[in-house]
């Protein structure tokens, strides 16, 4: 009925490009490889948009409900009589939206990189890796089958490892890549076990069947997964929570987020691709994909909610204290993804109750545009000043007008100022939270204020604050290819908020009527504006106010007489309490404890290995003794102790 099989071309083109560039690129057409990669991806992007048009407006809807269409599916491997591993393509609102987002942002990054990475020695390799990454990500969202998804999930991990570690002569980049790989692997372990649990109980790996079986309260599968339990928690909850753990790892949720800030060592366009629009939202996508099952299990969903909310808050607080602009963006990403997560968490299945689901994906959609814009803008800035540190920047607005304007748009969007894109999606999220969980709502509200604050802190530090002092040769804003994506994404950040996502993407496939509740909007917008104003007063011009305030408590009284009385109190609170009492410790804990925990783990492993080395003494008679002891240990254990 619906002929969508051409969709397979969308991921196939990047993989073909990867093979082409990877095998021959470096030798034969190094300088052309950027163009080749970009062209092939633009075809993919075009096809994706075509698909979106076709699906949403022509034939996706049957009786007012968006259907899940599986245009391509074949059994790749019959694992056992009951479980088969299929390879296929799923077309539903979720995957179609992801297709558009991924190919579009990836295309922008491809174009941007043409200028940014120009002159790199391993230019072809870079594009090959970009293509590989895009392929894996596309494969991930098109999966019909949880195994297929897991496979692409791992592939995404590998290709992001390659991209983050692209500057492999830089030790920090290598360490970051390795860390990202190991931490996400650790999370994937949860995913893997989760899959095994779900597959074991549902007796299938297919998403459709799995969801059907695990949401039907009568089915034998749900019975088996609810009744069997470990440590008093049902197998279903375990499975879903572990699957979420995988998602949390990729999406940098607390405490598995430690790889994200370090991963900023990769080339900046890569961050725009991986850490804004694609890999980091894979976790959100995963939960959304299995959402009907999550709805069936309240406790797993609750984990999602609180992890999401906490991550959103924590990341926002830490972002206030960072001085590396890419790290600020990294934490802000984490914070925004926290939004998406808890929004899924507070949602229910179907109808008005399913607002959170819609809002989450709406935010995913808008966030992709403005966050990749922010990263690319940051890339432009870094390209110009050759530094990531805020202190090396300032006053750049005259030197790079396009970057400045687009960056400002993106900041407004992420801060949630109408009518920029972020406003609409964030509004829906807050609304959804307000209706179902007040605690989360207030956390979200506070975080949104913080978001505005730290984003504008960033903005002012880069573009205002002080006169630019650029040294060295002539600087310009970058090549034509670097400006174009900024402009396009800027336009998107302005406009995509008006896309009526609620009509298309809902938990049950039925369109949802939403409207902006003006009264409700006042608070968050006011908070955002307050945050912006605060940042303005602190960072717009170079002044000693923040430092002065933080210097001494005694000066507080003196300042109290001045006209910034209220302002100063705010400042005091922000500087003294939030920065020093919460932000710094949070950042410190994040850096030393959570991160340190991982190092500790490595350390313990090494120590253990040192401890056990005596076992391997090189003396063959001791070996025989261990052998002998092993036998009799086993025999005694299993004859007398274990019955």
């Amino acid at each position: 009925m619906n002929n969508y099989s051409y969709i397979s071309l969308i991921p196939l083109l990047p993989i073909a490009t990867f093979l082409l560039l990877g095998l021959f690129g470096r030798k034969y057409f190094s300088s052309l490889s950027g163009i080749i990669g970009t062209l092939s991806l633009s075809v993919s992007a075009f096809l994706s948009i075509l698909t979106a048009y076709k699906y949403f407006f022509v034939d996706g809807k049957v009786n007012g409900v968006f259907q899940q269409i599986i245009p391509l599916k074949y059994t790749w491997l019959q694992f056992s009589p009951t479980i088969s591993i299929d390879m296929g393509i799923v077309v539903d609102p979720l995957s179609v939206m992801m297709l558009v987002v991924i190919t579009f942002v990836s295309l922008m990054v491809h174009v941007f990189s043409l200028g940014y990475m120009k002159g790199e020695e391993r230019f072809a390799t870079y594009y090959a890796f970009l293509s590989l990454f895009t392929f894996s990500m596309l494969g991930l969202v098109l999966s019909t089958n949880i195994f297929q998804m897991y496979m692409f999930w791992e592939l995404v991990g590998v290709s992001s490892f390659l991209l983050i570690g692209y500057y492999f002569d830089k030790p920090s980049a290598v360490a970051a890549a390795k860390k990202a790989f190991i931490v996400t692997r650790f999370a994937d372990l949860g995913f893997l076990i989760g899959i095994l649990i779900l597959a074991f109980h549902a007796e299938t790996l297919d998403f459709q069947t799995l969801i059907a079986r695990l949401t039907d309260p009568q089915s034998s599968q749900i019975l088996s997964s609810v009744t069997s339990s470990l440590f008093g928690v049902s197998a279903l909850t375990w499975g879903l929570t572990l699957v979420f753990m995988g998602g949390a790892g990729k999406s940098a949720m607390f405490p598995l987020h430690i790889w994200l800030p370090d991963a900023m060592e990769g080339p900046t366009p890569v961050s725009a691709l991986i850490h804004a629009a694609t890999m980091v939202v894979a976790g959100v996508y995963l939960v959304a994909r299995l959402f009907p099952v999550y709805c069936f299990d309240v406790s797993a969903l609750q984990v999602v909610t609180y992890v999401g909310a906490f991550s959103a808050l924590l990341a926002a607080v830490i972002a206030c204290t960072q001085t590396d602009i890419k790290r600020v963006l990294a934490y802000s990403t984490m914070s925004q993804i926290g939004y998406m997560m808890f929004s899924l968490g507070v949602s229910k299945y179907g109808g008005e109750e399913g607002l959170g689901y819609m809002a989450s994906l709406f935010h995913l959609f808008t966030h992709a545009f403005f966050k990749s814009l922010l990263f690319l803008g940051a890339g432009s800035v870094i390209h110009m000043v050759h530094s990531n540190e805020m202190k090396d920047m300032g006053g750049l607005r005259k030197h790079m007008p396009i970057t400045h304007i687009t960056f400002l748009i993106a900041c407004l969007a992420i801060a949630g100022i109408p009518p920029f894109a972020g406003f609409f999606s964030k509004e829906e999220i807050l609304l959804a939270a307000f209706h179902s969980n007040k605690l989360v709502f207030f956390v979200a509200l506070f975080t949104s204020g913080l978001t505005a604050f730290y984003m504008f802190r960033l903005y002012y530090s880069i573009f205002w604050k002080k006169a630019a002092h650029l040294h060295g040769e002539h600087h310009d804003e970058g090549t034509f290819t670097m400006k174009i994506p900024l402009v396009i994404l800027g336009a998107c950040a302005l406009l995509v908020g008006f896309v009526p996502i609620s009509q298309f993407i809902t938990s049950d496939g039925i369109g949802l009527e939403t409207h902006i509740d003006v009264i409700f909007s006042i608070t968050p917008v006011a908070l955002a504006i307050a945050g912006i104003l605060l940042a303005t007063s602190l960072y717009k011009n170079e002044n000693d106010r923040p430092i002065k305030i933080s210097l001494a408590f005694g000066k507080f009284y003196e300042a109290a007489h001045k006209k910034f009385y209220i302002d100063e109190v705010y400042l005091f609170i922000i500087q003294k309490i939030i920065f020093n009492l919460i932000g710094r410790p949070a950042a410190w804990i994040d850096k030393n404890i959570v991160d340190g925990l991982m190092n500790l783990l490595a350390f313990i492993t090494a120590e253990f290995s040192e401890f056990f080395k005596g076992l391997q003494s090189g003396k063959v008679q001791s070996y025989a003794l261990y052998f002998f002891a092993g036998i009799f240990g086993l025999a005694v254990l299993f004859i007398y102790l274990v019955k």
Partner: protein, 170 residues
């Protein structure tokens, strides 16, 4: 107590006694001789069980072959009268403990199992039977293992030649 029983006890004591001496003697040549005695004792045990053929094989292969080989290698590698290095005290204690425990455990299991004879028919070992079965391909024929073992002997021989002959070729 019948004569057979007494003979059995004598043989057993002899086997175990010489066995213990073989693993504790301080001079290597003596250890080899004790081993020889122990193996002869085992041959005697086979005789006692009225399995003359096995006893003969035992004497021919073990006493005539392996022990001679061992004694040759002793001559090749050291002076036979030398005292051997003492075992490490710690390992000795530990081994003694482990072996004693393991022996007790194993024998307890064997004892508890209480082997019973399912078929009390008299056992008769005819050499011709062994010969026939060794080369038979039918039921209870052992030609295949026979061939495999001959292959193994061939391989072992080649291996020994390559490794041990090295000095002469150079």
């Amino acid at each position: 107590m019948g004569a057979s029983k007494i003979i059995f006890y004598i043989i057993s004591t002899f086997i175990l006694g010489t066995g213990i001496l073989a693993v504790t003697a301080t001079k290597i040549f003596r250890a080899a001789i004790w081993l020889l005695f122990s193996l002869i004792g085992i041959a005697a045990l086979y005789f006692w069980m009225q399995l003359e053929f096995i006893a003969a094989v035992q004497i021919i292969v073990y006493v005539g072959g392996i022990v001679v080989l061992i004694i040759f290698s002793i001559f090749l590698t050291q002076k036979s009268g030398d005292e051997m290095p003492k075992p490490l005290q710690q390992r000795k204690l530990f081994s003694l403990f482990a072996v004693f425990f393991a022996f007790a455990f194993t024998y307890l299991l064997i004892h508890q199992y209480g082997f019973y004879s399912s078929n009390p028919q008299p056992f008769e070992l005819k050499i011709s039977d062994i010969g026939m079965q060794m080369l038979s391909t039918t039921e209870h024929g052992f030609i295949l293992p026979f061939e495999v073992v001959s292959m193994l002997l061939l391989a072992a021989m080649i291996g020994c030649i390559v490794i041990a002959m090295k000095a002469k070729t150079e």
